[in-house]
């Protein structure tokens, strides 16, 4: 799914090889059961040299993956950060368990976590991150290292971000469109996953009921003389048909996982757009502040009051201020204006820098998405074809048996 030959993946092979259950005490000193995943890494040239060294490995649990991702989100806000597999099983059809401890769920999560690591390791910006590297290679003390970066303090509060979204005046049109696209993508993939899960449920029912044919044919064959053999063997094929749906739906689950990855990617995309809105908003705020200060200076210099200021009002009410007071004020404003211009320059550069980097990654993401989803659709078609071929085989066999009835 991910392309080899970029950054970290050039140097090392990464895999999430196994999953295991552990029990231990949690933060509030209560017994808990959780799953850990084995991350294996091996230098790329090791295999080609003929030797096959034992890979380095360490165990990590899902919450550590979450911590890594949160760190990446804050540290690289202009990157569309690859998503983790879902925290809880959603869009399940009845046969599938919603239990996090279910072995099938754990297995699918293992695959999803491996996919996450491979995506990060092949990302042009993220793959060279030191914290990511130590996540893969240093079992002990990694958590402390992450916290030491102080990334949590750098995180934007949700309130701040929400505020910016509502108040920003001139966001880059492309980002606004991207955000809208992210909304649509999330909505339509959710709908698709829901519909698919319900259809899978029904299909399961159709196949399984055919198993009843198997049972009845077998019983019926016992009371017939000439028809017995044909019925009996037809019954076996009906049983085979009923059993075949398990594999079919398991394969479809992989397809659903591919869709889910992009469902969550939509969120990452929107996060980048929101960050843009925030930086743009902060630039606008700084610019607005500067303009207001400049206006105040002008009024003070010319003695006309156009902008409202408390000082201005009070001086109107309680009398004008002295020339010395005015001088002092002017001087302060000048300093503030200087600082303000610096800030605007800074913020402008930040904004431009952000837009540039983010748009590069968004374009990269678009290409990746188009490629991956097209492959997913193709693999879906291949699955359907395989299902049809199985159906043809079973019913041809059954037909032969029936004709011997």
């Amino acid at each position: 799914m991910v392309e080899k030959g970029t950054s970290l993946l050039k140097m090392m092979e990464i895999s999430v090889a196994e999953a295991e259950k552990r029990t231990g005490k949690n933060a509030v000193n209560m017994q808990e059961t959780y799953t850990v995943y084995l991350i294996e890494t091996r230098p790329v040239d090791a295999a080609s040299e003929g030797t096959n060294p034992v890979p380095d490995s360490l165990w990590r649990r899902y919450s550590e993956f979450e911590l890594l991702r949160n760190y990446l989100l804050v540290t690289y806000p202009f990157s569309v950060v690859p998503p983790l597999p879902e925290k809880r099983a959603e869009f399940v059809w009845h046969k599938l368990s919603a239990d996090n401890m279910d072995p099938d769920f754990v297995e699918r999560r293992r695959v999803g976590l491996e996919n996450f690591l491979l995506r990060v390791a092949s990302h042009p910006d993220l793959s060279s991150d030191k914290i990511f590297y130590s996540f893969l290679t240093e079992e002990n003390g990694w958590k402390e290292t992450v916290f030491e970066t102080g990334f949590q303090a750098k995180a934007d509060s949700r309130l701040k971000a929400l505020n910016a979204t509502f108040r920003v005046k001139n966001p880059d049109k492309r980002f606004a469109e991207m955000k809208h696209y992210g909304d649509e993508l999330q909505s339509v993939i959710s709908q698709l996953l829901r519909v698919r899960a319900r259809a899978a449920d029904r299909l399961y029912g159709v196949y399984k009921v055919h198993g009843n044919y198997g049972r009845v044919f077998s019983e019926w064959s016992a009371i017939e003389k000439e028809m017995g053999d044909g019925l009996q063997s037809a019954g076996h094929h009906m049983d085979a048909y009923a059993a075949s749906v398990d594999d079919i739906l398991e394969e479809e689950e992989h397809y659903a996982d591919q869709l889910k990855e992009y469902l969550f990617y939509a969120d990452a995309l929107r996060a980048v757009c929101r960050k843009h809105e925030l930086t743009q908003y902060e630039l606008e705020m700084a610019a607005q502040d500067l303009t207001s200060k400049k206006q105040q200076r002008e009024e003070l210099a010319t003695g006309t009051i156009r902008t409202f200021s408390l000082k201005g009002m009070t001086s109107k009410l309680f009398g004008q201020e002295t020339p010395e007071q005015r001088e002092a004020k002017l001087k302060m404003l000048e300093t503030q204006i200087e600082e303000g211009e610096e800030l605007v320059k800074e913020r402008n550069a930040e904004c431009e820098e952000f837009v540039k980097s983010a748009w590069v990654d968004i374009e990269r993401f678009k290409e990746q998405k188009d490629h991956d989803l097209r492959e997913a659709l193709i693999s879906y078609a291949i699955m359907q074809i395989s299902m049809c071929k199985k159906g043809i085989q079973v019913w041809n066999n059954a037909k032969e048996c029936f004709s011997k009835m």
């Binding site: 696209y181 649509e184 993508l185 339509v188 993939i189 709908q191 698709l192 519909v195 698919r196 319900r198 259809a199 449920d201 029904r202 299909l203 029912g205 159709v206 009921v209 055919h210 009843n212 044919y213 009845v216 019983e219 019926w220 009371i223 000439e226 028809m227 044909g230 037809a234 188009d370 490629h371 989803l373 097209r374 492959e375 659709l377 193709i378 879906y380 078609a381 291949i382 359907q384 074809i385 049809c388 071929k389 159906g391 043809i392 019913w395 041809n396 059954a398 037909k399 029936f402 004709s403 009835m405």
Partner: protein, 406 residues
């Protein structure tokens, strides 16, 4: 000719008057025993088929009292006892019921193919619903064809009248026939016999009864399983119908992906159509046949009961002769007649049973083969749909040179 003689003899045994007006030599009576030996069924009815019946063209009739449906019954035949080679009449369900009743009465131990039921209450089907009428029409068509293929029934005078008489003629013919009182007498005898019960049922008829019991359960299960499959398929179809539009909706937000998404939407929609077709096939073909054979088992049980009654009657008369002192001559006469009736009934049943089993095997075999074939067809069509999608993606990809299909 042979079958006509047989019919006459049977009527004698029932003490009813025959008023069918057909002319044949009444002196051609031979002993029942020798006749039974000549009671053969034509094995290759197909090659010598000389009568073709179709039921079609349902029409609704409204009168002051009621509304009902009539069906057109067309007969083409080369048989000499028919005045013409082609007949066209209109019949309603009641008329079919009447015919069935007459055949059962005349041949209590022969197996008459079942008629579709009067009313499907479970499915809450309106009597005049198009699907219901079509299903009924097909069943009526099968019914008449089974009668036409039966070596004994097809020579029945009642059958002939049914196929040829104008509506008015049929009505008046229906009013004739054995009087009410004599039919009452038969019923009373039958009830009395039923109460008495049979003492020494021959093993083969007990085996038949056991088979019918088991078969009845199996066929009823198959009927239920098939109905359930249809239900599940319909529910699957409901969900699948939403898939295509969702892919189409998605394609509207995309650029590069718009084309493949639209294609997938199209594929899913086409598979929906095929699934719909498959459900219809099950409903129209397999289910009616299973249902008919489920009804058959009721007929078979009734036939076995009637045979038992005939035997019980004979046993009672045997007992009576042994114990009573008076009227011994009449009683011996009665007993002989009862014995003949029993022998007759048993042989008729045995032969018809063999014929029925053969028929059942053929009908069910072809129904299941047909179903399997349609399922293969269904999957083949869906396969083609998805393969054409793959093909279009491949040609696209080869053009762009960026997808690996290995």
């Amino acid at each position: 000719l042979l079958s006509q003689q047989l019919r006459l003899n049977e009527r004698d045994l029932h003490d009813t008057t025959v008023t069918d007006g057909s002319s044949f030599n009444a002196s051609m009576q031979t002993s029942p025993a020798s006749m039974i030996n000549q009671y053969k069924f034509e094995e290759d009815a197909e090659d010598t088929k000389d009568i073709f019946v179709t039921v079609d063209n349902p029409e609704s009739h409204v009168t002051a009292i009621e509304t009902y449906i009539t069906y057109r019954v067309v007969t083409k035949t080369t048989r000499s006892e028919f005045d013409s080679s082609e007949f066209e009449v209109r019949r309603r369900y009641q008329d079919f019921l009447w015919l069935k009743g007459r055949l059962e009465e005349a041949h209590p131990t022969l197996i008459v193919h079942p008629l579709p039921e009067k009313f499907v209450v479970k499915g809450m089907v309106e009597r005049f619903n198009e699907d219901f009428i079509e299903t009924r029409r097909r069943a009526l068509h099968r019914f008449l064809n089974k009668i036409a293929e039966h070596p004994i029934f097809s020579s029945s005078e009642d059958f002939k009248i049914f196929l040829t008489a104008a509506s008015g003629e049929l009505t008046s013919y229906k009013k004739q026939g054995p009087g009410f009182l004599s039919r009452m007498g038969e019923t009373v005898k039958a009830v009395a016999a039923a109460v008495r019960g049979v003492r020494n049922r021959p093993q083969e008829f007990t085996e038949m009864q056991e088979y019918v019991e088991a078969f009845s359960q199996k066929i009823s299960s198959l009927d239920k399983v098939t109905q359930r499959i249809v239900r599940e398929q319909k529910e699957y179809l409901e969900e699948l119908k939403e898939c295509g539009p969702t892919y189409a909706l998605w394609s509207q937000s995309e650029e590069e992906l718009a084309e493949p998404l639209k294609d997938v939407a199209g594929c899913v929609d086409r598979c929906c159509k095929e699934t719909e077709e498959q459900v219809k096939n099950l409903n129209d073909n397999l289910i009616p046949v299973l249902h008919e054979y489920a009804l058959c088992t009721e007929t078979l049980k009734a036939v076995l009961r009637r045979r038992d009654n005939i035997q019980a009657d004979f046993e009672a008369k045997t007992e009576a002769l042994a114990t009573k002192k008076a009227d011994r001559d009449t009683m011996r006469d009665d007993l002989d007649k009862a014995e003949d009736r029993l022998e007759w009934a048993n042989n008729a049943l045995k032969s018809d049973w063999t014929r029925w089993q053969k028929d059942m095997r053929t009908d069910l075999r072809s129904a299941f083969v047909d179903t399997a074939e349609r399922n293969v067809n269904y999957y083949e069509k869906c396969l083609a749909v998805w393969e054409s999608f793959l093909h279009s993606q491949r040609t696209d990809a080869e053009g762009n040179g960026n997808v690996d299909f290995s």
